[in-house]
């Protein structure tokens, strides 16, 4: 098609975004805006890139549906990297359908991957898996294969299936070497790190051990009584009691399990479960009531006996009691868990991901910021929060293949 557009697209493909910008910097026709948007995204100015891609999508004519769809996909990917999870998902789904209809299967797959990654970030694992399964099983370019396998690995990690995760990451590494894109290889490496970094702590008889994801997985077949602080359940093999909606009961169960086989004094139980500094008679009465309730809930798994000073757990059908806890326990552990991907998040995106109110998230962020555990930049609606970068899960910007020369 056009001479300068061809020259700029070639420069962009050769990894020379500045060369591309030089050629189309002063032009405002649709393909130039799209090229400038992609170049700015590669140069890291995502806000500018987003604005340019949006104007490009508007500037393409009604007959240029595919070009417009590619702009929408690029904009969606930028939104994902910016953790703007409120970005209209319908527009992305429509763009993906357009690309599929016109046979641009590589970019359609890219759009599907962005959808799946968003769902994965939101913790909607089943939907992420369904989205991945929907994509046409056509041969993907190596870079897309890497992204696909990273998503498969992400799903497996969230489901604590280490072998599946390792297999997917091995396939991802192979494809990344074919793609010869260093940032993709680095992303596979950092995903591998997750499998080799403690994912949890095991507390047994007062002692603590760090656990890798694979070891957490093996715990599932253990015959011990496990108090699982990730899912707020008490379980032994197939039998599980969920205390997710009963935080006081769960706190009591956990305190008892951590001390087992020793007993726990009433004062400690009251301090831990009711957050009361000094135990008075009314606290003691309440403790008796709550222990009674816990006893009823735990009936299939354990009994709770009174001792001289307090209470002790008496597990049934097993001689082991384990507590599975987060590697680092923080008051705002869930907020930190999301921020630990090293990407900038808005407080509203965090609220969406956590399923809580923006106000609650804001309070947690303010508190974490006071102790220097998170930092923020930007102001107003553009304000973003992040932790010092630690290995995360798909965070890079690939951008749709833009065969703009066609």
């Amino acid at each position: 098609m056009e001479s300068l557009i061809t020259a700029a697209a070639r420069a962009l493909e050769a990894g020379d975004p500045l060369g591309a910008l030089n050629r189309v910097a002063l032009r405002n026709d649709a393909p130039s805006l799209a090229l400038r948007g992609i170049a700015m995204a590669q140069l890291g100015d995502l806000a500018k890139a987003k604005a340019l891609l949006r104007s490009a999508a508007r500037a393409f004519g009604p007959r240029e549906a595919v070009a417009r769809a590619r702009c929408v996909v690029a904009e969606a990917e930028i939104a994902l990297v910016l953790r703007d999870l409120n970005w209209p998902v319908k527009a992305l789904a429509a763009a993906r359908a357009t690309l599929e209809k016109h046979g641009d299967l590589a970019n359609a797959a890219h759009a599907g991957h962005i959808e799946a990654r968003r769902l994965l970030l939101l913790g909607r694992i089943d939907e992420a898996e369904r989205t991945l399964a929907e994509l046409a099983a056509s041969p993907l370019p190596p870079a897309s294969q890497v992204v696909r396998e990273l998503i498969v690995a992400g799903i497996a990690i969230r489901r604590v299936r280490t072998k599946d995760a390792r297999d997917a990451l091995a396939r991802a590494a192979k494809a990344a070497r074919l793609a010869k894109i260093p940032t993709l290889l680095a992303e596979v490496d950092s995903a591998n790190l997750i499998l080799n970094t403690p994912a949890a702590r095991l507390i047994v008889r007062g002692d603590e051990h760090p656990l890798l994801l694979g070891e957490v997985e093996r715990l599932a077949t253990s015959t011990a009584l496990v108090v699982d602080t990730f899912h707020h359940v008490v379980r032994r093999q197939g039998t599980a009691v969920s205390l997710g909606t009963r935080p006081v009961l769960f706190a009591l169960a956990r305190t008892l399990a951590q001390a087992w086989p020793a007993d726990v004094s009433r004062e400690i139980l009251i301090a831990g479960a009711f957050r009361a500094k000094h135990a008075d008679e009314s606290h003691r009465a309440r403790l008796r009531v709550e222990i009674g309730r816990l006893r009823t809930h735990l009936k299939p798994l354990a009994d709770i006996s009174a001792t001289k000073q307090g209470f002790v757990l008496a597990p049934r059908k097993t001689r082991d009691v384990l507590v599975l806890a987060r590697p680092v326990e923080e008051k705002h552990a869930t907020v930190l868990a999301f921020l630990s991907d090293g990407e900038p998040w808005s407080s509203s995106a965090l609220a969406l991901a956590l399923g809580t109110s923006p106000r609650t998230v804001q309070r947690a962020l303010d508190e974490l910021a006071r102790s220097n555990k998170v930092q923020s930049f930007g102001h107003g609606r553009a304000r973003r929060w992040m932790t010092p970068p630690v290995p995360g899960f798909p965070t890079g910007l690939l951008l749709p293949g833009l065969p703009l020369k066609t």
Partner: protein, 212 residues
């Protein structure tokens, strides 16, 4: 206006190392096509590339009997067909929005893609002599037997059309099959029109309808 489906007589390529075909021309024996950083000389009988010239080649290609003209970025290069040397350059009329290129009657004819225009240009100075308006995005341009033909490519559709050089009115239109894009156009002086196939990396020969 006569409208029919383009009849593809032969397909060439895709060729190794060629990502996309931009401009197309014909020197009386061989087809020349632009592929980004090369001008390739294609033997239309064997379907093989006889030789290539290393020169920036981002859009239209033309041949005046001795020289090749090739659009690169926002200029038109005049190239010695024998040595491959760039002799002179003139500014392209579309300032980089240029697409197709043809030689006829002592002038260069340059398509300006999104502006839907064809400019008649003085080959020595680059001065625009006159401008013909089309109603579609213009890709390749060619003259044959006093007929002005140009390729179109808008969105997902492409066709090859003969227009009235004075009014721009469409006289005849050959629709390309779905998914077949026309990025460049040149006549062989006979009943063949060579079309560049964009990112397909192909060159196609289609039949030019006979005059009754």
């Amino acid at each position: 206006m006569k409208r029919s489906t383009a009849e593809i007589v032969r397909e060439y390529g895709p060729f190794p190392g060629v990502e996309a075909v931009h401009g197309v021309s014909y020197d009386g024996a061989h087809v020349w096509f632009a592929s980004g950083d090369k001008l390739n000389e294609l033997d239309p009988d064997s379907g093989k590339i006889a030789r290539s010239i290393d020169v920036a080649a981002h859009a239209g290609t033309a041949f005046d009997g001795r020289h090749l003209f090739q659009i690169a970025e926002d200029r038109i290069q005049k190239i010695d067909a024998a040595t491959g040397q760039v002799l002179t350059t003139i500014p392209a009329p579309g300032g980089g929005g240029d697409s197709g290129l043809a030689w006829a009657e002592g002038s260069l004819w340059v398509g300006q893609y999104r502006e839907r225009k064809i400019h008649q240009v003085d080959p020595d100075t680059g001065t625009v002599v006159r401008t013909i308006e089309s109603n579609r995005f213009v890709t390749g341009v060619t003259w044959v037997d006093g007929e002005l033909w140009h390729g179109t490519w808008e969105g997902e559709d492409s066709d090859v059309r003969r227009i009235d050089p004075d009014t721009g009115k469409v006289l005849e239109q050959l629709d390309m099959p779905e998914g077949t894009m026309v990025s460049g156009l040149e006549s062989d002086g006979g009943d063949r029109l060579f079309c560049g196939g964009g990112a397909s990396g192909k060159v196609r020969a289609i039949r030019r309808p006979k005059r009754g």
